[in-house]
């Protein structure tokens, strides 16, 4: 167990450091998120009246789209350099690879959200810094990375790669999308957490189920 935790920590550190040095992915995700936000601004007339209601939906779509860019990259360095085998040999159990990658994707998504929230708040003069809202985003991003890391591990080894990831991921993520948008929307409209409890439980259940199943099957994704 100690070895396992140690490997997970080393993996997360390696990926974050690699990303921090190049900042390729973060820059792309951030720019993409802001551009999506601008598209929404013109696609949907964001008048002050309806803005409050649809903010949760827009923020989530922006984060999901940007997150897909990140997920697509999460295994490419190993795949392109042919380090998969070395990685498998280096860890006590392959589930550590899944867990490390999942944590990295989660952290990267949260980092992008952290950049997007103040910008949205500034552009639309509506503060999104609400503990409940952030809790929903954290849970949603976990579910997203839990399913996304597993799928990305497969799509990176296929012929279509980047093209395939959203097609495989989005249908599986549908419950998460519904739960995040409804829960966050309720919270932003001023409802107490108790009112959206069912959605939060759903998110937690999804996260736990998908993480567990992924840990069980990840071995078959990565091992030749």
């Amino acid at each position: 167990m100690k070895d396992w935790l140690h490997s997970v920590r080393a993996l997360v550190w390696k990926d974050l450091l690699q990303e921090w040095r190049s900042k390729d992915m973060l820059t792309a995700m951030f720019a993409f998120a802001i551009l999506t936000l601008f598209i929404f601004n013109y696609a949907i007339e964001l008048s002050p009246v309806n803005r409050a209601e649809i903010a949760s939906g827009i923020i989530w779509v922006v984060i999901v789209f940007a997150g897909t860019l990140g997920l697509n990259r999460s295994f490419t360095s190993e795949q392109d350099q042919g380090c998969f085998d070395a990685l498998v040999m280096a860890v006590p159990d392959v589930s550590a690879i899944y867990f490390g990658k999942m944590l990295t994707n989660w952290l990267v998504m949260l980092f992008v959200s952290l950049l997007i929230l103040p910008i949205y708040s500034l552009l639309y003069n509506q503060s999104l810094f609400n503990a409940g809202f952030i809790l929903v985003l954290v849970l949603g991003a976990w579910c997203y990375s839990a399913a996304g890391t597993l799928i990305a591990g497969m799509t990176v080894q296929t012929r279509m790669r980047d093209l395939l990831l959203p097609i495989l991921l989005f249908p599986i993520l549908m419950p998460v999308n519904m739960a995040v948008v409804k829960a966050a929307g309720g919270i932003l409209a001023g409802a107490p957490l108790v009112n959206v409890q069912a959605w939060l439980v759903l998110l937690a259940a999804y996260g736990i189920i998908v993480t567990t199943v992924s840990i069980l099957v990840f071995e078959y994704v990565i091992r030749e």
Binding site: T155, I172, A205
Partner: protein, 237 residues
């Protein structure tokens, strides 16, 4: 070569007879529903097709688990065949549902949990077929297919539950006190026969398709071997 063995032949004819029987019962035995009229009769095949959709994806997930444990390609052939057939029946369920919904709900489509879940499920398995097409190595294709069938099936109840939390107008026939649609015995009998008939049809189709999948896989292996031989000859020259 239409039938690979005797049992399959028997099963196929049984399925055909049952489907004809179900068809006759829907047309002549089941009464015309008082409020909805003749269009209600589409319901018997609609429910049966939806049931086969669910059953097929369950079969695919179970075969996925078995494949990952046993590594025998035949389970992958069954899983792949089940997904293909399941998609077909899901489409039938969706279209028959639309035929019913237009006069009854006055719309072709509504964001009801069952409709939404069925459609999202269909997209999950279209993804499954695409994923398989992107992998050339049969063993890896089987592994990825199994993993995706398992995770995809695990998400189906969650999708249903979450869309149900939103709202529903779909009639609940079984296990409901509200009585959106009261059924008389003749209707239950017709329903039962069509579900059994569709299940037999599914079993027969699955068997045929799995045999075809096994032959396709043999053909691929043979082709690869021939190519390797030809390549070897070229090298020798």
């Amino acid at each position: 070569m239409l039938f690979a063995n005797k049992n399959l032949k028997l099963l196929s004819f049984l399925a055909l007879l049952l489907i004809l029987a179900a068809f006759a019962m829907v047309l002549f035995y089941a009464p015309i529903e008082l409020n909805m009229g003749i269009v209600q009769k589409v319901f018997y095949f609609h429910v049966s097709a939806a049931w086969i959709g669910m059953l097929a994806f369950l079969v695919a997930a179970v075969c996925g688990i078995v494949y990952l444990n046993k590594k025998q390609l035949k389970f992958d052939h069954i899983a792949f065949s089940a997904v293909e057939i399941g998609l077909l029946f899901t489409a039938i369920a969706n279209f028959t549902g639309m035929i019913w919904a237009k006069p009854i709900w006055n719309t072709w489509w509504t964001w009801d949990p069952r409709l939404t879940t069925m459609t999202i499920m269909a997209f999950t398995y279209i993804g499954y077929l695409l994923l398989r097409r992107g992998v050339d190595n049969p063993e890896k294709r089987a592994r990825f297919g199994s993993v995706y069938a398992i995770i995809g099936f695990a998400s189906v109840p969650l999708t249903f539950f979450s869309s149900r939390l939103l709202r529903t107008i779909h009639p609940t026939i079984f296990g409901a006190d509200t009585g959106d649609m009261a059924m008389i015995p003749a209707m239950y009998q017709t329903m039962g026969v069509s579900i059994i008939a569709f299940t037999f049809l599914f079993a027969a189709l699955l068997w045929h398709r799995s045999i075809l999948a096994a032959r396709e896989s043999e053909l691929d292996t043979l082709r690869a071997q021939t190519e390797a031989l030809e390549f070897g000859e070229v090298l020798d020259d």
